[in-house]
Symmetry: C2
Subunit: 143 residues, 2 copies
DNA sequence: CCTTGACCTATAGTTAACTTTATCTTGTAT
DNA sequence: ATACAAGATAAAGTTAACTATAGGTCAAGG
């Protein structure tokens, strides 16, 4: 009973190779093994995987995730450090969101730029004086 | 009369190697050269670099950026395709922002989890019946 | 018993995006 | 003239995060 690596892959969307790779990197020390040596995931392991996936998808490198997992195994002595992982990471993710929103302004400008050019039939429409003004506005959004 | 590669690096925050690498990959076909063969960036090139940086920082691979640059060189015949690049990319960036916001819920939960544990002096505070309920709520945010 | 499919480990290979290194050329200051 | 800083190219090296391959083990079905 429990889940084989392929069942976990199916349910999480991670590949079998990725799960084994994470295990090798020390991210899954909590996963049990059968007598024969096969990984035997339990229900609660999915919560660990969800946390790992959250951190990875928000840009935390695997080495830092491993550090966090290691601290988890050390128990209550590392609670402050573990809190700090998330407090710091939250700042980083907020910065990512802010940066993406800022870049989105440039993308929206480009959409407007090409829609206007297509309407006019040529990109040359953006060479006049009026458009230099518009370009100026856009440049203020440069990153 | 123009900017050297090191001046451009200084102003944009990109490294000299990165600029040369982008050039080699075909991202900077618009950059002039001096008689001696040195790159000679002009003011308008910074706008190109800003677009390239925007696309790269929002996750577009260099090969796709090159495709876009190539279309730019082809003139008005590719206006629709270029618009499409930004329309599609906008969707991707919106998806990224949405995903990050979703993951943020889990990060916030973890901050709450560790703050509560630290207040209690032990992580064991999250083992009771009441906390299983709270865990359930959190699991609904799993990704 | 034996085949078959899923599992295992270890190791090698891949890809993207740079970065470093080696070697050469150019342009300005003494 | 000459030194030397800054520019150039080509090619090799790096890093992260997988992905694929080779070779072996185990457990259930025929």
């Amino acid at each position: 009973m429990g889940y084989t690596v392929s069942k976990v892959a199916e349910r999480t969307g991670l590949t079998i190779s990725t799960l084994r790779y994470y295990d090798k990197e020390g991210l899954l020390p909590f996963v049990d093994r059968t007598a024969g040596g096969a990984r035997n995931f339990k229900e609660s392991d999915f919560e660990w995987l969800a946390v790992i996936t959250c951190l990875k998808q928000t840009g935390m490198p695997i080495k830092r995730i491993k550090q966090f997992i290691d601290w988890c195994l050390e128990g209550d002595a590392t609670l402050e450090r573990r809190l700090n992982v998330f407090v710091e990471h939250k700042k980083e993710v907020n910065a990512q969101i802010a940066a993406l929103k800022e870049y989105m302004k440039k993308i929206d400008y480009k959409i407007w730029y090409y829609e206007t050019a297509i309407s006019a039939g040529t990109e040359a429409v953006h060479n006049g004086e009026k458009c230099k003004l518009l370009d100026k506005d856009a440049e203020e959004n440069d990153l």
